[in-house]
Structures are given as C-alpha cells and as structure tokens.
C-alpha cells in the first residue's frame, strides 16, 4: 500500500489519468521504456513509447537496425517485459504479469511469424502447427483437426506430413503463419516475415497477410523494407527508441 502511494506521487499527471482507465484498444502502450545494463553503462533501447492499436488494424513498424524496433516487437509479443511503463492487451495489464501469465498471453493472444520461420526441424508441418494447442491443453483429436484446418487455410493441405527441410521457404513461412493463427490470437505479430524469401515468394506471403487482414485479423509487421511497410494501413517509424512518426497511409 505504501509503495503504491509512493509510486503515485512520482507518476506525472497525464499518465495517472491513463493509468486509471483501462484502455479499450486491443493494444495499448504507455511510456514504455526498456533499459539494458551493459556493464557500468545503461543502454535505453526504448525511451518512452506510447501508442494504441485497434482491433482489425494492419500496422507496420519500421526503423533502421538499432532503432529499438526488435525490442518493441519482443515487448508487444510478451517475450520481454518493459523496464518501465504500462502495456495492455485486450484490457489486460501484461506489463505487470509474471512468467507463467505471459506464457499464457503468448499462447492465447499472440501469433508469431519470424524471419527465420522458427519451426521445429524434426517435427512435421502438422505437428509444428499443433504445438501452441498442446500448450493450450486442447485434446488430441480437436488439436489435430484445428491444425489441419489452419494448414488448409494457408493452402498446405498436401504438405502436412512434410518436415521443414522438405518444404520451400515460402511453404515454411506459411506453416509458421498457420501455427501463428491456429489458436485464434488477437494479434498476428510478424518480424521481417519476408526477410529470408525471394521477391516472388515475398509477394505471395504479403498477399496472404492481406487476405488474413481482410478476414479480420489484427496484424503488426516489423520490417526495415519500405515496400513491405507500404502494404500496411498504418506505419509507425521508430528511431533511437522513440516513435518518430505514426501515420495512417490507407
């Protein structure tokens, strides 16, 4: 109780208002800082980032390397926690959650798509897609059925029993997208999803994202490529750990 009072005293007035009302947005960040201790030195990867994302938005986060966009992505995806600031997903204050609660948020609310696909190499496509459902405690039969449907949704019905090394880059990324979507997350979070793909395949994947967006998914893509970012409806530019620009493009 005492610590809560002390905290309130040092929080600026504007933030105090934000703190009291649980935001209605899908994602809501308020003055997010992420500080790393590098020996004696403190490095600020994020210096007070605040923004909201509404349900159904298609957002690109761009910025040069070292701008803090990867750190921001890790925090959005609940892989990392902010040093300071408040972060809500679906009205839940995730910045205060412990490890197990964060794991649950990653499982239910966030679907990751990585640059390097990050599939389990020894498991089949189907098993890779089933993985989030295993940790969600979905019974085997239902799990299998949902994973199959997710793979069919990305046009991989005929590749279910293949292992990642038997699939092309584009197919692998589609498996990863199926895995990200299988547990019906609130956010599809993609980190340079076309970074390891050729131009034609990149276009194919980006078309898939577009389709998923039209189907009502909320998508956040982190990229440094302007043409990828241009497909989004809103672009947030990060530089030196701060939001430089936040503009709606469509």
């Amino acid at each position: 109780m005492l610590t809560a009072q002390v905290q309130e005293e040092i929080v600026p007035y504007g933030e105090l208002l934000a703190q009291e009302a649980v935001p209605a947005a899908l994602i809501s960040m308020r003055d997010i800082w992420r500080t790393y201790q590098m020996g004696e030195e403190q490095v600020h990867a994020l210096r007070g980032v605040s923004f909201d994302v509404q349900k159904g938005e298609y957002v690109a986060i761009i910025g040069p390397s070292g701008s803090g966009k990867s750190t921001l992505m890790n925090i959005i995806g609940c892989l990392d926690t902010p040093t300071r600031g408040r972060y809500w997903i679906n009205g839940k204050l995730v910045s205060e959650m412990d490890d197990d609660e964060l794991a649950r948020i990653r499982n239910k609310e966030v679907g990751f798509v990585f640059q390097t696909f990050n599939l389990l190499p020894r498991a089949t496509a189907l098993h890779n897609v089933e993985l989030p459902l295993i940790y969600a405690g979905v019974p085997a039969a239902e799990r299998r059925e949902r994973a199959k449907r997710a793979l069919m949704a990305v046009d991989l019905a005929d590749r279910m029993m293949h292992k990642p090394n038997e699939l092309s880059g584009g197919q692998r990324q589609r498996v990863a997208i199926a895995r990200a979507l299988v547990n019906h997350p609130s956010i599809l979070l993609a980190d340079e999803p076309t970074g390891a793909l050729d131009t034609a395949t990149s276009r194919e994947i980006m078309n898939l994202f577009e389709r998923l967006h039209e189907e009502g998914n909320t998508i956040i893509i982190v990229t440094h490529e302007p043409d990828i970012a241009a497909r989004a409806h809103r672009i947030i530019s990060i530089r030196d750990g701060r939001i430089e620009k936040d503009e709606r493009v469509k």
């Binding site: 892989l79 490890d99 990050n118 295993i134 405690g137």
Partner: protein, 415 residues
Amino acid sequence: MRMTALFWEAFLIAAASLRANKLRTALTLLGIIVGVAAVIAVVTIIKGLDRTVANTFSSQGSTVFSVSKRPMVILSREDLVRFNKRKDITEDDAEAIARLCSSCWRIGIAVNNPNTLVKYNDQKSENVLVRGVTLPMLAIDDVNLAAGRAWTETEETAAHRVCVVGADILTNLFGGAPPEQAIGREIRIAGQPFEIIGVAEKLGSIFGFSRDNFIYIPYEAYKRAFGARTSLIIFVQARSADELENVEDEVRTIMRNRRGKTFLDEDDGFALETQDVFLDLYKRATSNIYLVTIGVASVSLIVGGIVVMNIMLVSVTERTREIGIRKAVGARRRDILTQFLIEAVVLTAIGGVIGVGLGFGCAYGLAFALGFPTLISVWSAILGVSVSSVVGIISGSWPAWRAAELDPVEALRAE
C-alpha cells in the same frame, strides 16, 4: 489431458533424438546399462541358485541332524586344531543315543571315504564318494532305487560285500547300460571286490557337481575292507520338523553326559548340526555377492547419471532455439522443465530396459554354460527400470531447470 500430451510430446522428442544419435545414446547409457545389467544378472543367477540349493538340501530335509567330531564348516586353522583334540565319535556313542533317546526316529552311522577309485574290468570311475553306512542311513538319506534292492540286516551284520551305487557309476563303468544289467556285477572299490545289489535313481547335478557319484556299502563291510575309522558321524532323524528341536536337545544332553560336559561348558566336545549350516554359509556368501554387486552397480549408476546429466546439458544448449520457439508459442517454465525431465527419464529408462535384457541374457548364458537353473524375477526387472528412471530424474533435473529458465528472447536468437 495436458500432461498426457506433454508426455507424448516429450517421448516423441526423446525417441527422435535417440534415433538421430544412436552412437551417442549408446555411449551415454553405457553406465546405466552396465549397472542395471550387473544387478539383474546377479539377482537372476542367485535366485536360480537359491532354488537349486533349497531343492538339494530338502532331500535330507529339515528332520535330520548329525553328530560329529568336527563341524561341517571350519573357518580357521585354530578351530581345526581345537576340533581335532576332541574325542572321537564312536559306535558306543551311537549305541548310547539309540538306547537313551526316546524321541529319536532313525539313527544311522556313516563313515565317508571321498575320492575313491572304483573299477569294473578296465572301466573306472574316479573320485567316488564311498560311504560305509548302517541300514537306517539309506532311509535317512531317502535313497530311492531304480533297480535291485537294499541289503538286509543279516548282510549288514555279516559284513557282506554288497553295495548300492549311484547313477554315475552306471554311466562310468557300464557305459550307461540299464540299471537292471548292473545288478549282480562285481566291481572293485579301492581294490576290494563288492557286488552291486542296488542302483539309485539319478539325482542330477548342482553347480556343475554331480550328486550321483556315490556308493553305499554296509558299515560292517566297510570296517572289514578299509579298517575302522577313527571318528564316525551319527545321523539322527526326527519324526517331523516340529519335533526336530526336542530331538536335538535330547541327543545333545546324552552326548554332553557322555563327554562329561554341561550346558555351562563353552565347548560341547562334539558338533551337532543340521544342513542349515550349509544354508547359512551359502546365505552368507550370496549376501556378500549382493553387497559387491550393489557397490559395482551404484558406482556405474552414479557415473552413468553424471554422463546423462552432461549429455542433457549438451542437448539443452543444442536446442536453445527450440526452447525459445516453444516458449514463444506458450510453453511455461514448468512445461519445458517437464519436457526435459521426461526426456531424461525416457533415456535412462531405455537404458534400464536394455540393462535388464542384457542382465537376463548374461545370466542365461552363464547358467547354460555352467549347468544350473536361473529364475527370472519380475521384481528385479521392475526395480532395474525404476532405479534407472530415478537416475534420469536426478541427473535430468539440473539441465531441465536450466532449459526452463532460458530467456525466450535470448533463446530465439541462438543459432
């Protein structure tokens, strides 16, 4: 549900990594395999021996005891010297027991002459145990005849040179002819002629030693042919196992009186023993074998556990990225912890199963080569697999904890 799924998941991963690294797996599990196999082999062999020993000694049964100058088992030279100073057991002692012991059922006298050469024409049988016995001994020893007859009391007192032979004598002297054909033949026991009047049923062997290489001859005939022995062994049989103790007490009292001893004396001046002496000796020997085996097994299991821990740490490092992926899609710490623990247990349990198989295999090979039976103990198999699984839990816990504690961001960045 969740646990079953996680278990199955971990089992599949373990199986896949075992398949991928067969040689590494084999080397990893060597310590555990050796440890478990040693225990299983020894337990199997000793269980087999236990049964053989029990069967063998029950032929005379727990109703019989012996009175002799020296005990059957002498463990030191000092004891031997001390026992040799005792008075001999004589026919008078046997007569006194027969006269005074009201609870005794059968009383027999025996003198043994091991390592005797027996001949029939040019055929010979070596190391034969020749026993000069009074007639009740055949009943006490439960000798069953395959052919012929035992000698009569008349033949006994008249010291007729007749004998009852074991099955080995038949094999060695008559080339395995049917027992009936040996009846009436004259053989030479240490040069002295004896007529075969009976052939005993085959008893088989124990620990590779035949129990059929014997000849019984009448006690009087033995004395006549080979001279009076210095000390006899008196065998006494009680009517039932329940009565044994009473009979022993009665005979002990009679013998103490004859030796001028009381229960206060430290030494009775004679040895009164059942065959439990052998069982005790056997049990002492086997319990030592068990102890040594447990020692060897513990060392190999500890070493095996350390190797498994090491390999699990390597596995955690190699699969850092996999752990990152799992955490990204929602695995909690305890999910990762469980996965690696299960993997370690599956690994060591497989080692345990191989060890159990190898142990039984070794036991059978050895038993087959040496000619004694084995007894599979389901409990030892269960114990072997359980102990190795426990080793898995112990040696897997630290690597599993390290895996669970990995930071997802760092883990996803790993190569």
